[in-house]
């Protein structure tokens, strides 16, 4: 039959296209977070400590700008409070939560200060913004890699402008200054507002959690990632503490 509707070539390429689309569709499309009024929310709080003596932080010889940064500088991987063993810069977060407290967009400040990134570890939610500043009288560059892939690399000269950008995707962002390779940091971006970074005493608090059972992720840059399960009772306080072995 001439002029038939079905043309073999179209047909195969059609199939190829369908297959192609199927193959290229991301397996799990991230569900958007929904902010609601949380009735009888619970709190998760606790203390993350270092088990035993903390390893020495790596010390780097400063090759570029020693006149300002000093001859050597130590990394800030392990910040353990000598008084209570509290481990700073641990990121604690709930997993797979798609509905909960409302989150007002925040701006996280990342400062280049005395040849370090301050703070060394940050956490935010997709939709927040970050602002990069340079308080040093030398050129830094702030190079952000989301899961290893460059998403931003801005020059931060002396007296330069602050750079403000939105956080559009969740994931782990590694921070580096290529001009001073010992300068590193991490920025965690979540799809929800249930996360915290431990303070100088290793303490953290996450509030207004809808009652239920959750997986909690505990991350510290010097330790393999840990998972725990917690149950949040209505209006209750749940303690989550952990001793992390740093070696």
């Amino acid at each position: 039959m001439k002029g038939s509707i079905v043309n073999v070539k179209d047909f195969t390429s059609g199939i190829a296209f369908v297959l192609f689309t199927l193959l290229c569709t991301p397996a799990a499309v991230a569900q958007a977070y929904e902010g609601i009024v949380v009735a009888k929310g619970g709190e998760l709080a606790g203390n993350i400590k270092a088990k035993g003596a903390a390893p020495e932080n790596e010390v780097h010889k400063v090759i570029h700008n020693p006149e300002y940064c000093g001859d050597s500088i130590s990394e800030e991987t392990y910040l353990v409070n000598p008084e209570n063993n509290g481990l700073q810069n641990t990121v604690v977060s709930l997993e797979g939560i798609t509905k909960g407290k409302k989150h007002d967009p925040a701006t996280l400040v990342l400062e280049n200060l005395k040849c370090r990134f301050v703070p060394h570890v940050l956490a935010g939610m997709a939709g927040d913004s970050y602002e990069i500043r340079n308080g040093d009288p030398i050129l830094h560059n702030t190079h952000l890699r989301l899961e290893g892939t460059t998403i931003l690399n801005v020059a931060m000269p002396e007296n330069g402008k602050n750079i403000k950008k939105p956080l559009t995707q969740s994931g782990t962002i590694g921070i580096k200054c290529d001009a001073h390779p010992f300068m590193t940091g991490a920025l965690w971006v979540f799809d929800h507002p249930y996360f915290a970074v431990t303070d100088k005493n290793g303490e953290f608090k996450i509030s207004d959690i809808p009652p239920g059972t959750y997986k909690v992720t505990i991350w510290h840059e010097g330790v393999p990632i840990k998972e725990k399960e917690v149950t949040i009772a209505p209006g209750g306080k749940t303690n989550l503490s952990a001793d992390l072995s740093l070696k």
């Binding site: 179209d10 192609f20 892939t149 690399n153 020059a155 002396e158």
Partner: protein, 251 residues
């Protein structure tokens, strides 16, 4: 018309109609995509013929000729590109990719592919974009505006020197642009390889002779490399002064 014949032709019509509905959605997107899948098939052909030797059949930069090449052929699976219209870290547009492919990367093993038909270059652009999901999830931003160049007087070259020194280009490129800055030996790229800053004393730019492209490299930086973007920090006139100054560093 005998009943049997009517039934048969009706039945056949039904089958054809059914098939039609089956492929209708696919065919529709084909049409609205300008025959996308067909282009991909062609793009694959062009790619495997001309590019896979270096960039690898899987686009991972591990073609049979890749070993020993420095810089290494691009690993497309990461979805990071050096020459983009927007700042370092953003996605390249089809036009950006077309330009790199047509003009090659000066001073490296990446050839200029002007010799292959323009339509084939377009198909191969479509095909390269299938190697990373980033092309589906992110769109290229508006290209950085390239301001018209000032005349390039000796005065501007002098000013460029000051801008160069004040903005720390030396950290990587060195005081005279000889790729011997103090941090030059410590630099790495997104692909995990050591990378050297450009050596301006050679007078060879990867993007060739066109000055607006040198401007673009300074304004946007180069994605996946330590070369940062300066467009937020420098005025267009200062970037042009830098362009003139670093060209004057040629031996």
């Amino acid at each position: 018309m005998p009943f049997k014949k009517l039934f048969l032709s009706g039945f056949r019509g039904l089958i054809i109609l059914g098939l039609f509905f089956l492929i209708l959605p696919a065919n529709r997107s084909l049409a609205s995509d300008g025959g996308h899948s067909l282009n991909l098939t062609r793009g694959k052909g062009v790619y495997e013929r001309y590019c896979a030797g270096c960039h690898g059949v899987k686009g991972d930069g591990r073609g049979i000729y890749a070993e020993g090449l420095n810089p290494k052929p691009r690993d497309f699976t990461k979805g990071v590109f050096k020459w983009t219209g927007g700042p370092a870290g953003s996605m390249p547009s089809d036009l950006d990719l077309m330009m790199t492919i047509s003009e090659g990367v000066n001073g490296t093993s990446m050839p200029a592919w002007r010799g292959i038909r323009e339509s084939d270059r377009r198909y191969v652009v479509d095909y390269i974009k299938t190697f990373s999901p980033r092309f589906k999830n992110e769109t290229p931003p508006r290209a950085t505006f390239i301001y018209p160049p000032p005349p390039g007087t000796p005065d501007e070259i002098d000013k460029g020197k000051t801008v160069y020194e004040k903005n720390g280009c030396m950290a990587c490129h060195g005081p005279k642009g000889r790729a011997d800055g103090r941090s030059a030996g410590t630099l790495t790229d997104d692909w995990g390889d050591a990378i050297l800053p450009a050596n301006f004393s050679k007078g060879v730019f990867k993007t060739g002779k066109e000055e607006w492209k040198i401007y673009r490299s300074i304004a946007n930086g180069l994605g996946g490399t330590p070369m940062p973007s300066f467009s937020d920090q420098l005025k267009p006139a200062e970037i042009w002064e830098l362009v003139y100054y670093i060209q004057s560093l040629r031996d």
